[in-house]
């Protein structure tokens, strides 16, 4: 099965072929709406990532943690997807997450075939649910699962900022480092959750609004 720690590194690596280069974690529409003030307020990027970690990413991380639990207990993981969907009001965000989930699943069904005992290889299932199932079959802990979701989101924001704003890559890496406490806070908040009802329902309405606008935007670099 391999070392869970190495699996976590693989899953956090942007070079893993899951279409990660098409994602900006909502940064592109946020920049379009004025975040970063055309380069005059670059620190907005790190604040944006932190806001996500406190809100919608917590929902995602908790969903992944519960999906992992359900998988280990032999229960239907689709319940976690339903709980996540009920807490994700933007249709555009749900669609983008399911598209990513499909890309993950496509890879996981080849690399960790045990995944397909729980999810169909071409299912359109929210990414955190797929990550939860992969975590269960590869032996990741609940903490590792939550940390992976938190880190991946923050890194997606920071990496996309290099394409969208005049950012020095070393500054971007510095922002990511400064986000570590926010990520660990998220891990502490969600890793002991075991039931669907405990998945929090934090929202970030502006992120939802931006996502809805982005879905019909003609000029865009990123899918979401």
């Amino acid at each position: 099965m391999g070392s869970p720690e190495l699996v976590a590194l693989m899953l956090a690596d942007a070079r893993l072929p899951t279409g990660g280069h098409t994602q900006s974690a909502g940064l592109e529409p946020a920049v379009r709406a004025g975040l970063g003030a055309d380069g005059a307020r670059l620190a907005d990027v790190a604040s944006y990532a932190a806001d996500r970690l406190r809100t919608i990413v917590r929902v995602e991380a908790a969903t992944a943690v519960v999906a992992r639990r359900l998988t280990l207990d032999g229960e239907l993981v689709e319940q976690a997807e339903a709980a996540w969907a009920a807490r994700t009001p933007s249709q555009a965000l749900r669609a983008a997450s399911r598209r990513q989930g499909r890309a993950y699943l496509r890879l996981a069904s080849r690399v960790w075939p045990a995944t397909t005992e729980f999810l169909k290889a071409d299912a359109e299932i929210a990414r955190p649910v797929v990550v939860g199932v992969v975590a269960a079959v590869t032996g990741l802990s609940a903490e590792q699962t939550a940390r992976l979701i938190g880190y991946d989101d923050a890194q997606t924001v920071v990496a996309a900022s290099l394409k969208l704003l005049p950012v020095d890559p070393a500054d971007a890496a510095g922002w990511l480092l400064k986000l570590h406490p926010d990520i660990e806070e998220l891990v502490t908040a969600v890793s002991r959750i075991t039931t669907l009802a405990e998945i929090p329902a934090y929202g970030a309405p502006l992120v939802d609004v931006f996502a809805q606008a982005h879905a019909v935007e003609r000029m865009r670099l990123f899918h979401a």
């Binding site: 070079r15 072929p17 899951t18 279409g19 990660g20 280069h21 098409t22 994602q23 900006s24 598209r99 499909r102 890309a103 496509r106 890879l107 071409d122 394409k163 003609r218 000029m219 865009r220 670099l221 990123f222 899918h223």
Partner: protein, 238 residues
């Protein structure tokens, strides 16, 4: 995905503006009555190509889908083909059975080629306006794509390019693989393009085709110790 719904996946790559979308529109126009077609475009910043093709009216707009590349057209067709593969598989599922799915790469540089994990064969498109010496400069797509198109030959007199020379240079770089001088104003050349696609479709269908990877490096030659000219295609340091 059941195996029998798999189409012949044909990639169309080449630098910006050489005529990839136009060539795909041309193929749709020529082949739509004979073959069931689908199209995937890889847009770098807009859905311009998908829109252009939809508005050309040569194919049911539903059969033309755009994939975002996150500003990495190269990655999308080579290092991480996941979004493209999903788009192709969805088209194959939604319009089964499709004969051919044409995948247009985002206009990139001379080194961008499709991974054989995404397409069964690929066309690399140059145009005369990019300069007569481009074919000689080579590159993986020029050297090893299944078909090299030298496009817009009607413009040759205006840009001072000798088309037969450019084709000869390309043929020399390709070791016998086909080169097609194309112009939308030259009906014979359009017919030859159509025939090549039909033949390739038949070959791929027969199961006797193994996708060729143009790879990251063009064949190159250097003079060996004994003064002999050595030509090879593998990547290594000299």
């Amino acid at each position: 995905m059941p195996k029998n719904n798999r189409s012949f996946r044909l990639g169309v790559a080449g630098p910006v503006g050489t005529g990839k979308s136009s060539l795909i529109a041309m193929l749709c126009r020529e082949l739509a009555s004979e073959l069931q077609l689908g199209v995937i475009t890889n847009d770098i910043y807009t859905d311009e190509d998908a829109r252009l093709l939809r508005s050309a009216g040569v194919l049911d707009p539903e059969r033309i889908r755009a994939v975002e590349t996150g500003a990495c057209p190269h990655t999308a067709i080579r290092d991480d083909v996941t979004p493209n593969l999903i788009a192709v598989e969805d088209l194959e599922r939604d319009f089964a059975p499709l004969d051919v799915v044409l995948v247009e790469s985002g206009g990139d540089n001379l080194t961008a080629t499709f991974s054989p994990a995404l397409v069964d064969a690929q066309i690399f498109v140059l145009d005369v306006a990019g300069g007569g010496d481009v074919a000689r400069k080579g590159g993986p797509g020029i050297a090893r794509a299944d078909l090299l198109v030298v496009n817009k030959t009607d413009l040759a007199p205006y840009v001072g390019v000798d088309v037969p020379q450019m084709v000869a240079d390309a043929e020399a770089a390709r070791g016998g693989k086909p080169v097609l001088a194309l112009s939308r104003t030259d009906a014979d050349s359009v017919l030859r393009l159509k025939e090549w696609v039909l033949e390739m479709t038949a070959v791929v269908r027969s199961g006797s085709h193994t996708p060729v990877d143009p790879g990251p490096m063009a064949p190159h030659s250097h003079v060996g110790d004994d003064g002999e000219l050595i030509t090879h295609t593998h990547a290594h340091a000299h």
